[in-house]
């Protein structure tokens, strides 16, 4: 019960930041340089056509009035229309978010699969060759910019070897996307049992996912190593060793379970960061994700789209952190006791 009420309280706490984000994004987008009316009136437009466009876009109202309109629409689930694409922002985000999520999750998963065992091994044998390997990979992953890794992988695996499919986004143009259920092409393809499309979608995803994964390797491996080191030097581990428990049991049950807390927190951070920051990977692999959408919207001073993007990211951030907190509460026996 205690845990449940604690989780409920944590969810309530998430509401004020969301409102704050709404206000700040509204103000920030208005403070962007560049005049959307001028931009959308086109190159050859004169003053009167610009004024006409401005009125059409509703930019001739005062700021508070614009904000009230915005709140009203938001409550109805309406994020407004993107000026540059002429479509509802909600529809666009819903189409692009799964693309980014699928790629990011794949990258994160790959990265975890390598980084966590590596970090654990490095921590159990500090100073050994595996520790150095860990350090090398981590340094390389952080210091190679993602667009470079992406282009390099394309050059080797697509251009030279021809193993990878053409970097043309989520699916080659020979395939039609599976009917949308989750928006994740791989999962949707499995749901309708279309293995051909599943393969095609998976193959498209490998290179960009590896690119992202390399980048995410560093924080996860470092955090795992540090957390494991401190856990292994903890009194309870010494006590366990003194009691003659098996080394595997000490490592995974006593040390790793405690080290999992900071690692999980880091994962949450890395995930949110990857989701927004993979715009370069999206550009290189023509991935129709949310990052390139946001950049396009920023360049065009497309208020509704930028606001929608920031709001969506903020909500995701809040949700991910909430989930991590809930998971921590469930994993960590101390959390329940302390409150």
């Amino acid at each position: 019960m205690e845990k449940l009420s604690r989780i409920g309280g944590r969810i309530l706490q998430a509401i004020p930041p969301v409102f704050g984000v709404i206000v700040i994004t509204f103000l920030l987008t208005r403070a962007l340089p560049g005049d959307p009316a001028v931009f959308f009136a086109g190159l050859m437009a004169d003053d009167s056509t610009i004024a006409q466009v401005r009125a059409e876009l509703g930019l001739d109202h005062s700021l508070p009035v614009q904000f009230l309109y915005y709140l009203r629409d938001l409550l109805q689930g309406d994020l407004g229309n993107s000026l540059s694409t002429g479509r509802p922002v909600m529809t666009e985000l819903m189409a692009r978010l799964p693309a980014s999520l699928e790629l990011t999750l794949a990258g994160l998963f790959l990265s975890m699969a390598v980084a966590i065992p590596l970090g654990v091994l490095a921590a159990t044998r500090p100073g050994s060759w595996i520790d150095h390997l860990c350090r090398l990979l981590v340094t390389a992953g952080v210091s190679l910019p993602t667009f470079f890794t992406g282009l390099f992988l394309i050059y080797v695996f697509y251009y030279l070897l021809g193993w990878a499919p053409s970097p043309l986004g989520r699916l080659d143009f020979l395939y039609i996307s599976p009917p949308q259920v989750t928006g994740f092409y791989t999962i949707d393809a499995i749901l309708v049992g279309d293995w051909e499309v599943f393969w095609a979608a998976l193959r498209q995803m490998i290179l960009p996912a590896v690119t992202l994964g390399l980048f995410a390797l560093a924080p996860i491996a470092r955090m795992t190593r540090a957390a494991m080191l401190s856990a292994l030097s903890g009194d309870y581990v010494r006590a366990a060793r003194a009691s003659g428990l098996g080394s595997g049991r000490i490592l995974w049950v006593y040390a790793f379970r405690n080290a999992a807390l900071p690692v999980l927190t880091t994962l949450g951070m890395v995930f949110s960061f990857l989701l927004g920051a993979n715009v370069l990977v999206e550009k290189v692999f023509s991935w129709p994700g949310i990052g390139s959408y946001a950049i396009g919207a920023l360049v065009a001073s497309d208020y509704a789209a930028v606001q929608g993007f920031v709001l969506c990211m903020a909500l995701l951030f809040v949700v991910v952190n909430l989930m991590i907190d809930v998971m921590l509460t469930l994993i960590d026996p101390r959390v329940g006791l302390e409150s």
């Binding site: 560049g34 086109g42 466009v53 479509r87 053409s166 970097p167 043309l168 143009f173 360049v299 065009a300």
Partner: protein, 539 residues
Amino acid sequence: MKRRDLLKTGSAALGGAALLPFLRALPASAAAGSDTLVVVIGDTINSLDLHRTGTNRPSYQVAVNVYDRLVRFGTKVLEDGTISYDSTVIEPEIAESWEFSEDRKSITFKISPKAKFWDGSQVTAGDVKWSFDRAVTLGGFPLTQMAAGSMTDPEQFVAVDEMTFRVDLPAASKLALPDLAVPVPLVINSKLAKEHATEADPWATDYLHENPAGSGPFKIARWDAGQQFVYERNDDWQLGELPALKRVIVREVPSAATRRALLERGDVDFYMDVPAKDAKELAESGKAKVEGAPVDNCLHVLGLNVNYAPFDNKLVRQAIAYALPYEDILAAGAYGRGKPMWGGTEMTPSTIEWPQPFPYATDLEKAKALLAEAGFADGFETTLSYNLGLADWMEPTALLIQEALGKIGVTATLDKIPGAQWRTAALVEKRLPMHLENFGGWLNYPDYYFFWAYIEGHLFNSSNYSDPEMAELVDATLTMETDDPAYAPNITRMMEIAFEDVPRIPLYQPYLDAAMKPEVEGYVSWFHRQLALSNMSKA
């Protein structure tokens, strides 16, 4: 729509190959067959309706291919074998014939009975009127472009009868007819559009944004915003030779390096708007065919804003024109893909060819002497602004200019302006002392260029240049027919003034390059810089 339906027609040509599991085995374009073209572009289209507020430039491509106009420009083959549009030839399209009234103040078009919309209905004068009314009423860019041909008011467009359409002009103008061949005055199926119009949206902008309703040689089969769009041939098109291509897949690939790799690997057939560096290297490597023609009536220039000292001084402007490293700029900024616009020998041009080289060339001694004469022997400080959105040529050019100006004692600080702010800063507020600019006029007349770029208050006059004689000349010449005896002397005089005052120093005339597989034929270089598909084929 089932997977593979998209390519069925293409694969049927291979003789029942659709039955084979070729999808994974063959590269896309080989599987696609010779009547399917796979194109990559770097930009993303944001609408299928050119008239809509906010439609971006790359989207004009759709209007070019899916709609017909009353008339169109012809094509010609240049000396190097490149095909280019011909601004001097106007051919019938929807209009099978037209005639001017005696005073040339109205043009009457006879609509061709062969002009049919995709739904099979006849194109009528009513459709033309509705479409033109739409262009001038929705405002923004379409209105401005229509105004260049003296068309601003729906009352000017008259549907005389079902098959006869008339445009009334306030005064005779040589620009009116050519202006009907640019992408803007497209003809929409008004019956279909009106079915989807609402009180709040009488011009059906919401509908036409995603559903074109035209009569052109291609239809849009599919549009996945931000990813791709697919053209499908309109097999019933009779207003010209039926295009050889049945299906064209245009894929949006933002990274230039990826686009190049795709073409070199042979996975795509055609790469539109190639950066000059890639165009040069692709052509030299022999991995692709590069075709392009100089863009008519377009110049890459260094603008000197006369509202900012010391550029109000003609001698300073001339000094800078003598200081620029033209050859290096053409080599490093455009990789040789440009026509030199320096080193002319006459201060008074003997021909009315435009653009033609200005009478300046790199001559640092002369530049220093002119600066000294102007009272700036020790040089001065200024800023040189450029558009980050066009950094591929502007950045190297700006660096070279900065270095060259240093040699005559002028210190220029570089000022990078993001693409979204460029128009406001350079063209609307006109507040950049020294800047790079690339205006090109759609209508290929020198006076049209001077009208936009050398008249006070006009949009592309980013130098704030003002000269009463120039204004008078442009005003008198803009609507004048080219065979008028006063035309040539007026044009020559305009160029002479431009040579003498140099508020805009031309660097070169750019090329519009496209790279393609050797088997792709019939690419035409157009003034609107979009890919027009009707002449193209794949062997």
